[in-house]
Amino acid sequence: MSSAQLFYAINLLVYAGVDIIACLGLSQQFGVAGVTNFGFIIFQAAGAYTAAALSLPASSANGGFQSYLGGWNLPWPIPWIAAAAAGGLVALPFAFLVGRRLRGDFAAVGLLVTAVMANLLVTNYRPLLNGSAGLSLVPAPLQGEYDPQGQGYQWLYAAGTLVLAAAAFWLVRRVTESPYGRSLRAMRDNDMVADALGKNLLALRAAMLVLGGALAGLSGAILVGFINLWAPSAWGYAETIVLFAAVIIGGAGNHRGAVLGAILVPVGFEEATRYIPPFGPPGLVEDLQWVAIGLLIVVFLWFRPQGILPERRRLTGGADGATGRLVTRSAPSTAGSADGGVMLRTADLTRDFGGVRAVAGVSIEVRRGTLTGLIGPNGAGKSTLLALLAGTLPASAGQVVYAGTDVTALPAYRRARLGLVRTFQLASEFKRLTVMENLLSAVPAHRGDSLTGALRGRRYWRADEEAATARARALLERFGLSRYADTYAGDLSGGQRRLTEIMRALMTEPSLLLLDEPMAGVHPRLAREIGGQLLGLCAEGMTILMVEHELAIMDEFCDPVIVMAEGTVLASGTMATLRARTDVVEAYLAG
């Protein structure tokens, strides 16, 4: 190899390492947590600028032809560490965009325009970071002690970059292959349901923004330390799309796929075009390169949306018939004394949608240990009431008191953590999680279900995982779904999905379970079986409020039953007494 070829090889290795680190950060955000960060490149830029500003000497000492902030001439590795920190910190404020109930595509567009604008600002405002000319003569790490042009230094730089890429891989893998990673994937598949199961979406998404941002910042620092310059043209908004293309083509949700994508797209694809003999007017090859990136994205999303290396299925191994208790949570202590056996009470609960009052001043009580039914014609406000009780929707007026505590102002995930858990009328399984993972995702207070817990490793949370798995196996056995443990929930039949959802809700160890038509689309025989199971759970101390259309089910299992019509409570009592009331029969039973 000539020295020019050698230099080129080193270049490729460094670029590969930088792109791998960036793609791993994006893969963690987009592929694992479902945060579509169209502004990803901002955070790489933040890292690169931070590293540059900290390692550059004061601007006058550097010839005075550039103007920039910083210029503190700090020794390596401080600029790199600060770059990673800056990438993470700059990302944090965007949590307000992705963490709120803003549609994922709206948030993505918000981040995209932020990237466009950040570039515009840095380009036009020269005092900040030398404007469109950018920063040059950025010192290489330790360039006082060693010669950055020397071959030994260059090899070490490439090797160091690859070591950091490996470390980044280890980090994102450890986070993803943990109970915390399972929560992230659950949020990605269905965030509203994850919320209802006690996942704090804002905290999860903020953590992913920061983690991905830190990796992006580090990649920027490595790059600027190698090429010694950084300018707005290096981080146009479209560069993010190249990274997205890499992650989508490699396989979103699979970190090996991100590595492969980084090697194929930003490195392989862009380098390959160097070998095409130049043709046409200047700029044509670059234009066609962008067209090709666009085509790659659209074609892959159509023909192979899972990427070259799809996310792999997490298997739990065969069932070993372990048994565990279904209900372990002790009932909240304040409940029995303060509210005399009343588990849930609402006062004048109201919800308006525009001009429509879907729930109009509902006051009900649900007593401990009962299987309370909730019936009413379509549009009576049953599902809306359930959403208000669980906190999926905020109330327009009124009060929800659960176990003696006013929870009206609490978000859904906080109520779920108190043991007030709901299921949904529409299918709400986490499609790309197995049935077992769906169940495990709901386990409360799992040691591995936090970022720090995940980082401490399997040994720290193994005991919790084993206990939870045993409990999940017992549930699967009880509901007869043991052999589907390792099946993707998205591949189940309608009835099996309902069962999975009920089991998942039970995994949270609820004190009060809100079920929205759990038997819809389920075979009648199975429906009666479920009813029996629910009665058994109530006998063990659980309280259940169930919306159901099938009156035979109400007759057989529910007592008392609440009847709703047009947003208000019409009556409540046993089915026998309700059948005797003409207004109830007219409103619902006859119709």
């Binding site: 579509t36 965009l97 549609r103 466009v116 046409g280 234009d287 066609l288 067209v291 999303l301």
Partner: protein
């Protein structure tokens, strides 16, 4: 005061261009639920169709007609060829946005590969300059404002009084329910893309006229301004987009007069982020 009035004049022209663009964008979103980020690219591609006609020796206004036709046909193709198949497959909204971003690259840089990277201008006279009470506008700028007012009136009449407009509103509100009520939703969606594509083509041409010179990537920043107007008015709300266009158009140009012109789009960006953070359903939507 004269600075204010002069910039308000520019603001009115920008608002006129923006209103045409934003109404088209928001109506596409209303019926298809796709934030079509390739909208700006289609705008500029249409502007180049007008340029080709103009270069062939015809009037730029004839070119504008060709741009309207091209924008309409291009948008229908984009929807039928790309978005509808993805939507039929049940792709998530986020996937659709990624697809639309991919289409942006394809259209924009495909166009640049054809027309080259340099900016061009229409061959046209600006007409006499008219002054009225401090406002200074060229005849062309007045025509743009007039065109925009006529287009807004037509959109209003369409949505309010025509059967097609009612069907469009029904499809936007709830597609499956509309279909159940006998609305041929697929046809309505295609017609909507044809109409909004026409608005997109017109917007591209008047944007290019108002800009003076334009290149294949000129609409990148303007898309941010369109998004600001759309989100301010509430995504999917045609009347909201009109009001949003007036506010954002005036705000960007008036602030440009007092700040540096290179930062004028930052105002639109600020509006967009604040609205997204505080009222993602739009500020004007409920009122309009």
């Amino acid at each position: 005061m004269s600075l204010f009035l002069a910039s308000a004049g520019f603001g009115l022209v920008t608002a006129a261009v923006l209103a045409i663009a934003a109404v088209g964008f928001t109506m596409q979103f209303a019926v298809t639920d796709v934030l079509n980020l390739a909208y700006g690219a289609v705008m500029i591609a249409s502007a180049f169709v007008a340029y080709a006609v103009n270069q062939a020796g015809a009037s730029v206004w004839l070119g504008a007609l060709a741009a309207v036709a091209a924008g309409s046909a291009g948008s229908v193709l984009l929807n039928l060829g790309i978005y509808t198949p993805f939507r039929r497959r049940g792709s998530a909204p986020v996937t659709m946005v990624i697809v639309s971003l991919g289409m942006t690259l394809i259209i924009e840089f495909g166009l640049q590969a054809i027309v080259g990277g340099t900016s061009v201008s229409y061959t046209m006279g600006q007409g006499p300059t008219l002054k009225a009470g401090g406002l200074v506008l060229t005849a062309v700028q007045l025509v743009i404002i007039g065109l925009s007012v006529v287009v807004m009136g037509a959109v209003h009449a369409l949505l309010r009084y025509s059967k097609l407009g009612k069907a469009m509103r029904a499809t936007a509100a709830n597609r499956s329910l509309a279909r159940a009520c006998g609305v041929r939703t697929d046809r309505i969606v295609t017609l909507t893309w044809a109409l909004t594509g026409a608005l997109c083509g017109l917007a591209g041409t008047v944007f290019a006229m108002n800009n003076g010179s334009f290149g294949a990537t000129s609409a990148d920043l303007f898309l941010v301004v369109i998004l600001a107007a759309v989100f301010l008015g509430g995504p999917g709300q045609a009347y909201g987009a009109m009001a949003g266009a007036v506010i954002v158009g005036l705000a960007t140009e008036i602030s440009a007069a007092y700040l540096t012109p290179s930062y004028k789009d930052v105002v639109a960006f600020g509006v967009l982020l604040v609205v997204m953070a505080a009222r993602p359903g739009g500020v004007l939507g409920a009122v309009a």
